[in-house]
């Protein structure tokens, strides 16, 4: 359990720029006791490589961006002749 004395707390709070009066410090000591117990209760035995993806999620790419720019172009299929052009050839 990360136990902190009131002096430790004063030192840490000095880094945050907070200045507490004695009453506020007494409240914090009480609250910290509860929070420290909660922190101590969190299991930490997780594999190092576990769950790296919880931090953020990117939106999927927009459809226009999905085409791979280095991929070879598909062969162009010949257009079927229109009825009009077939008739003209006759």
């Amino acid at each position: 359990m990360p136990s902190l004395t009131p002096n430790d707390m004063q030192a840490l709070l000095a880094n945050t720029g907070l200045t507490l009066n004695p009453g506020q410090m007494a409240d914090l000591v009480l609250a910290w006791r509860q929070v420290a117990a909660m922190i101590a209760a969190i299991p930490r035995d997780r594999p190092m490589a576990d769950d790296q993806a919880f931090a953020f999620r990117l939106a999927p790419p927009a459809p226009a961006q999905t085409r791979d720019p280095v991929r070879k172009k598909a062969p162009v299929r010949k257009k079927a002749p229109s009825r009009k052009s077939v008739r003209a050839r006759r």
């Binding site: 507490l20 914090l28 929070v35 969190i42």
Partner: protein, 465 residues
């Protein structure tokens, strides 16, 4: 109809009367404003009453109804927890620090409801910045419970709970980070839905802890919550947490049968972790029988202990709220309430490694929550140990000293609905909580509606001298 009768209409009933021209938008709004004037000096549900805007909105809504362009929420008088930004209307977060804060734009949910034609009656009391507890060292007093004004409303959507139960608004929007919709719903005997994260936009809602915050509806019935959810749910591209889920109609399905629904009682949670009072436990036994009568298949289910969810939730809330307020705490510490300082200042001492450990543990708990839904469709539990305690019994460090059963659904990232499950011998409401897997709001609202109908709890209202 008297002001009392109109104040105690459900949203669905009011919409029917408005459509049938049996009541006008102005009549309904005036009736609610009269109730606020008469009862709010005792209940303190409102921080700001927007009488002139409300009457103007009612006139506009009536024109819309007259032209046949009305919907299920047109002319319905609602109010918002005072952390929802409202263009041109003071949004204080119940804090001295924002006493003069007048936003330029509406929160996205407020905008959607305005588009639906609702009448905003005003802004509702909360705990300061939606955290802490009832505080007497702020410019506005804490809300009081309509069933007994000496008692706590629950929080932090405290004014919303009081206003809806007392008929000072037909519905409200609250927010829920660790139970702030569901606790007042339980103590005030109304319905409150905490949606799946991402279903309802949080844009324009003053945050408490962004990794856990949700915005949701509160109303007298589950059906009314469904009507409100129909208007506010849906993707908002400008809210990074919003998710584009397929559109569902919530209100249309509430009357459908719940026959065959697999319901799991979280007995360990409400008997051991946060043990219910004898009356609350009796209510749970009776509720299980009601669910069986409705055709549900009732069994027992289990989740990790409440303390695990609660510990993770408290560390995240404390750290994130501190981070949001650090700059102001440095310069204006004394202007915050003692309740806020007690709940948030410890965040200054939480190390980044501990915050990350809490986030990682949360991913485990979310997975375990999802696994629980492999065998059941809905989990059932008590949101609170019993009925509302006296306001004088509340201590600023209660949030740490006593675990909240409601935090389970916030940390587990799932939707949860609280409805009234019954009453104590003293006539105080007792809540019951239905928890579903992600995106199962329609199922929860259907079960809540059927449960309310079967138990008849919606026929009883607070009585004022």
């Amino acid at each position: 109809m008297s002001a009392g009768d109109l104040g105690y209409l459900t949203i669905a009933e009011a919409a029917r009367l408005l459509a049938a021209r049996k009541v006008s938008a102005i009549e309904l709004t005036r009736a609610l404003l009269a109730r606020i004037a008469a009862l709010d000096p005792t209940l303190n549900a409102y921080i700001t009453v927007t009488e002139h805007q409300a009457l103007a909105a009612a006139r506009a809504a009536q024109r819309r109804l007259d032209s046949g362009d009305g919907g299920p929420l047109t002319a319905i008088p609602l109010a918002y927890k005072d952390i929802y930004e409202t263009a041109g209307v003071r949004t204080t977060a119940h804090s001295r620090l924002l006493a003069d804060n007048v936003p330029k734009t509406d929160a996205e949910t407020v905008r959607r409801l305005a588009q639906a034609g609702v009448v905003m009656l005003g802004k509702l009391a909360t705990h300061e910045f939606a955290v802490g507890g009832p505080a007497f060292d702020l410019p506005w007093p804490p809300a009081r419970n309509p069933w007994d004004p000496r008692r706590f409303t629950g929080g932090s959507s405290s004014g919303a709970g009081a206003a809806v139960a007392a008929g000072l608004a037909l519905g409200a929007l609250g927010s829920d980070t660790g139970g702030s919709i569901r606790l007042p719903a339980a103590y005030c005997g109304i319905a409150g839905l905490k949606p799946t994260p991402g279903l309802v936009s949080r844009r324009g809602v003053i945050p408490l802890a962004p990794s856990l915050d949700t915005a949701g509806p509160m109303a007298w019935t589950a059906r009314d919550c469904a009507i409100l959810l129909d208007a506010i749910a849906g993707h908002d591209a400008a809210d990074p947490a919003s998710v584009a889920v397929p559109r569902t109609t919530y209100a249309r399905g509430v009357a459908d049968s719940v026959k065959g629904l697999r319901v799991g009682l979280l007995r360990r949670h409400y008997e051991r972790d946060v043990p219910g009072t004898p009356e609350a436990l009796r209510m749970m036994t009776e509720a299980a029988a009601v669910l069986r009568d409705l055709g549900c298949r009732v069994s027992e289910a289990s989740l990790p202990p409440i303390a695990e969810f609660n510990g993770v939730g408290r560390i995240l809330i404390c750290s994130e709220a501190y981070a949001l307020h650090e700059a102001t705490l440095r310069t204006r510490l004394a202007e915050y309430s003692r309740a806020f300082r007690v709940r948030v200042l410890a965040g200054a001492l939480i190390r980044a490694a501990d915050y990350i450990a809490a986030q990682r543990r949360r991913t485990d708990l979310i997975a375990q929550m999802a696994a629980a839904f492999a065998t059941v469709d809905v989990l059932v539990t008590l949101p609170t140990a019993g009925a509302a305690p006296l306001l004088t019994e509340q201590r600023p460090d209660d949030g740490f000293a006593q675990p909240f059963a409601t935090t389970v659904a916030n940390v587990g990232a799932v939707p949860a609905l609280v409805v009234c499950g019954g009453f104590t011998a003293q006539g105080l409401p007792l809540g019951i909580e239905f928890i579903g897997p992600a995106w199962a709001e329609a199922r929860l609202l259907r079960l809540g509606h059927q449960f309310e109908r079967a138990t008849g709890t919606r026929d009883r209202r607070p009585v004022f001298q």
